[in-house]
Symmetry: C2
Subunit: 130 residues, 2 copies
């Protein structure tokens, strides 16, 4: 999956995979610069798109900071803080029944390929601040 990657792409993939959070393109840029100081921001964006296209990473939606990337490619769910926007990985033990998903998808003419549950609420840090 990754032996075709060049040095920049390799470094970027390593960073996304090694990140504990879901880094934005800018965060990836800053981190990759420590290893490859001459890399340009445009290359980071280009490579992130390629990696997402290739399925090595996933592009999560944008929030106020920008687009976030996730190297955790197996199906999983997310918890999102309604206050600060923090995005945390979760895994629902009991998923949604796939018949229900299929039915809902069919109802709007969509060919189902995956799904994700998002739960919203206050994260631990924001509970304290309230």
């Amino acid at each position: 999956m990754d032996d075709t990657l060049n040095a920049n792409a390799r470094a970027i993939l390593d960073i996304v995979q090694g990140a504990k959070n879901h880094p934005t393109a800018l965060e990836v840029y800053e981190r990759v610069r420590r290893v490859r100081p001459h890399i340009g921001l445009a290359t980071v964006y280009r490579v992130l798109h390629q990696l997402a296209e290739a399925g090595c990473i996933k592009e999560l939606g944008r929030d106020s900071e920008g687009c976030r990337y996730d190297a955790h490619t197996e199906r999983h769910d997310h918890a999102i803080c309604t206050e600060c926007g923090a995005l945390l990985d979760i895994l629902l033990e009991v998923g949604v029944s796939s018949e229900a998903l299929q039915a809902a998808a069919q109802a709007v003419g969509v060919v189902l390929s995956s799904h994700e549950v998002r739960i919203y609420g206050l994260c631990a840090a924001c509970q304290v601040k309230e």
Copy 2:
């Protein structure tokens, strides 16, 4: 819920509620201009935030076109086209068990307030193009 709104806010809320799709701020702006030609884009953004804050509408995540708004405030789910990004309302008849949601939220220290299921796949229009 809306008798405290002024004319601009009223017009904007009407437009979001009357929209069949999930309009972006720019779309709302263009539509509200037909009714109130002097309105500024900044006011549209300000009012949309206020309405979202007040719970009259919901702010959906941003996609390539920008931030989308939804006047459909009851809990529901979405189908998202992986090709063109189209965002469609769906409702899963069989939801996720609330115990599972609670458990997952607790596991990451989040106080659960709502949830949403997202299904991904090709929308009808994009199936044809493939």
